[in-house]
Amino acid sequence: MLSTPALVLAIVLFGLGLIGLLSRRNILYMLLSLEIMLNAAALAFIAGGARWGQADGEVMFLFILTLAAAEVSVALGIVLQLSHRFRTVDADALCELRG
């Protein structure tokens, strides 16, 4: 049964994506880390669907795919705006609100 190692792999991938998101300041790498975390979630859904023999896991995978496509198209537009206005791809450059 491959479901348990698949879930462990999903946890490892999610952790790697989280580490990348928190440690990198280049906004392009932060987006790549988000993609890795979305993929880890998709893997967990597929593993769960395979474990119980239900179709819901793959249905949720389709929705994650849709979400990733919409998120990437908007986020890459923001990256282009950032590089165009601030001449950098450093996420820390967006500190005008002093939040």
């Binding site: 491959l2 993929n39 395979a50 474990r51 023999g53 793959e58 705006q81």
Partner: protein, 165 residues
């Protein structure tokens, strides 16, 4: 067959590690494509063939092409580095990982026995019936998500070209 899963999982983790530690965006994208293909192989081993195909076509194809377009559009920030980006050495790491995956696929084809028998195979028909049956509201919500995505991407991209004129 489980050894195939562990090899593909190792390839995935190694490629992902190289993604988050790499300096050059194009190299990181190459490794991410390899990680996505390895993940698609794992989906296939788990019995989700359609999800594996979608993972390669949409993630490895469409979304990665978007990322590559943006990396190339970042132009002035990266113009000096572009010559060093695609040196022959850059292809060695992803090529080795991809060759491992190719070996696994070749082994599967040579054996001829579909490995999906290790887990219960989720039927594509059941997925389609569930998608357009109980999940029909979520499908409508997904279409409502994609339209703002399209408009948002158009709006964010349009203002750059207008300011350039």
């Amino acid at each position: 067959m489980e050894i195939l899963f562990y090899i593909a999982a190792t390839v995935t983790v190694l490629a992902t590690l190289r993604v988050i530690t790499h300096v050059h965006p194009v190299h990181a994208l190459l490794y991410l494509v390899v990680a996505l293909i390895a993940l698609a192989f794992i989906f296939y081993l788990l019995g989700a063939q359609f999800a594996a195909a979608l993972e390669i076509i949409i993630y490895g194809g469409a979304i990665m092409v978007l990322f590559i377009f943006v990396v190339m559009l970042l132009g002035p920030l990266a113009a000096e580095q572009e010559k060093s980006w695609l040196t022959p050495g850059a292809w060695i790491g992803p090529s080795i990982l991809a060759l491992v995956l190719l070996g696994e696929v070749g082994y599967l084809i040579a054996v001829g026995d579909h490995p999906v028998t290790i887990v219960a195979e989720t039927q594509q028909k059941a997925v389609s019936i569930a998608l357009y049956g109980p999940y029909i509201i979520a499908v409508e919500l997904a279409s409502m998500l994609l339209l703002p995505g399209l408009i948002g991407a158009y709006h964010l991209g349009r203002r750059i070209s207008r300011e350039d004129r």
